[in-house]
Amino acid sequence: MSPLKLKAVMASFAHPHANSYANCLARREDVSVCGVYDDDAQRGSAAAKKLGAAYDDNLPELLDRLKPDFAVICSENAAHRRDAEACAAAGVHALCEKPIAHTLEDARAMMAAFERAGRILSVAFPVRYSPPVARLREKVMGGEIGLPMAASCTNHGRMPPGWFLDASMSGGGAVIDHTVHVADVLRWILAADAVEVFAEVGNSLLHPGLGLDDAGLLSVKFEGGFFATIDTSWSRPKSFPTWGDVTINIFGDAGAIELDAFAQNALCSDDRAGMTVWKGWGDNMDALLIDDFVRAVRCGGPAPVPAIDGLKALEIALAAYESARRVAPVALPL
């Protein structure tokens, strides 16, 4: 017997990850993507047509009409709160693209709205679902490297286009865009919160004239004394063989583990393209994330990645900006 199909709505395709999540949902036999909301009518109706879904430029009306089980929010960072509150008001579970919001105030309001509604709000941190990252966590939590002491981490990337470069929509550049993935994984592995952040933040350093931060080196101290650095820079040029990386070199008192989450790739030098690219062959972590979220919706919770984890990762990024302004370490919580 096939289970009852869950109905899903995509809330905006502003963030390009929406395409991947929508594809992962469309491949499942037990989910039907029935609606697309987007304030960009051209982008939204094109996506809706591809999915065979209804399009609307008004999210509350779309939710009221379709009564979906859940929504995937991929609007601009500054619009997450508006869209999440619409979902909570309609009694719809939500998966929200990272960062959870561009301010702590928005993140807290979102958490409160979903608590009141008794619905799941989960944050899309796909890196947790990478099998190498999950194995790293097992090994560290299992004591293989002894007591974890410190980690040197990167989440490099290429410079993204569009609203990512408009601070009023994104909340900032490379630091807010790229701190949260690794910050979340470290909190998840250590089961500890950050207590202090120092950061060097570079504006227009790698992309002259950008007018936004495009380079960041964070130094983060956690409860219990563990410390880590995170390089969040948009430092991979267009000619680099891939979009970027997630690396964590973690040292304990009995050993060390070097993680390169996207090392699972084949090298491909192609004269037609005039460059060398790395073709990934590892698992599709977006698909594993979607599977886990759908499972949670079916069970009625709890959220696989609770909203508080999204808020705590955002707090580390916002502390980095504050530290750069003060040229001094900043204590957490903010």
Binding site: E144, G255, D260, Q264, A266, L267
Partner: protein, 322 residues
């Protein structure tokens, strides 16, 4: 759901038993082994055990026989199973003798049964990515392939591994992985040349071989069994406008280095290649999926491996019959 019986319940059967569980579909419910201790182990794992394959075929009538025996015992087990009307999953190599391999493929065809051989590289995500990219035309026309495979000498408890007559040595047992993959990518082979170094004292078994293909393309193979050499593979395919390369060791996803001297490389994925292979084989039996490997291809891999082994013995170029 297909019923499955193991022919042989040694090391490989135990690996495959766990992979069936990970694949999440049908699982073996029978096992045949001449060793009472192994039969007891199979029964402890919830299977009904038999003292001979014939006995299992007659009394349990499994839909599928999964042959996990030493190589020199493959052919009789495969033949008996096909003749009893079962589909067959067989560990690689299909068998050691090219004529016998072709005869088994013909028998499967005439009986209308599947004979699916575990050339597992076809189920490795990195090899599949490389193959898809090549088939997509990313490197143009193929020129030179290079394959490399190093692994620790199999443990001495499996004595048949150390007897060339029983397992075929590093060429028929290890290099054949890469031979099959090169044939899959480059098509019909024409001739082989090889040299081999064996040192019974240290356990080293090392071979270097070349294959020339009818298309003009060529391939180089390096295969090594030695104590504590570690596990490593590489595959490179150079074409007339590009290059593809995979390497198990240059960039592992995880490298653990303990301060007491132990180190380990890992590339975790959500499903093992073995689980993916068994999932596919069961899909072929239960749902009629098109096999990703057919018995003729498995027989051709045996023929190419045999030509390479013969070249190493005789110091001559050996033509390959296709």
């Amino acid at each position: 759901m297909a019923t499955i019986g193991f022919a042989g319940y040694g090391f490989m059967a135990r690996v495959r038993r766990d992979a069936y569980a990970a694949a999440g579909g049908s699982r073996p419910s029978f096992a045949a082994d001449t060793d009472p201790a192994r039969r007891a182990e199979a029964e402890a794992a919830g299977m009904k055990a038999f003292a001979s394959i014939e006995d299992m075929l007659e009394r349990a009538r499994p839909d599928v026989v999964d042959v996990c025996l030493p190589t020199h015992l493959h052919a009789p087990a495969v033949r008996a199973s096909l003749e009893a009307g079962a589909h067959v999953f067989c560990e690689k190599p299909l068998c050691a003798n090219p004529a016998e391999a072709r005869a088994l493929a013909a028998l499967a065809a005439s009986r209308g049964r599947l004979l699916l051989v575990g050339h597992i590289l076809r189920f490795f995500p990195d090899y599949r990515t490389l193959l898809n990219s090549y088939r997509n035309g990313d490197v143009g026309a193929p020129g030179v392939a290079r394959a490399r495979r190093l692994t620790n000498r199999p443990p001495e408890s499996r004595a048949w591994y150390c007897d060339d007559a029983l397992c075929g040595g590093v060429i028929l047992d290890l290099m054949i992985h890469d031979i099959d993959f090169a044939l899959l990518a480059l098509g019909a082979p024409e001739r082989a040349f090889a040299r081999r170094a064996c040192d019974p004292a240290s356990g080293l078994d090392f071979a270097l071989a070349t294959l020339r293909f009818k298309s003009g393309a060529m391939a180089h193979f390096e295969a090594c069994w030695a104590a504590n050499i570690g596990f490593r593979y590489e595959f490179e395919l150079a074409g007339d406008r590009g290059l593809l390369h995979i390497d198990s060791a240059s960039k592992p996803a995880l490298k653990t280095s303990l301060y007491d001297g132990c180190s380990r490389l890992e590339n975790p994925t959500s499903k093992s290649p073995m689980a993916l292979q068994l999932e596919h084989f069961l899909d072929c039996v239960e749902n009629g999926a098109e096999p990703l490997i057919n018995a003729d291809e498995a027989a051709l891999a045996v023929a190419a491996a045999d030509a390479i082994a013969r070249s190493a013995r005789e110091g001559k170029v050996v033509a390959i019959e296709t």
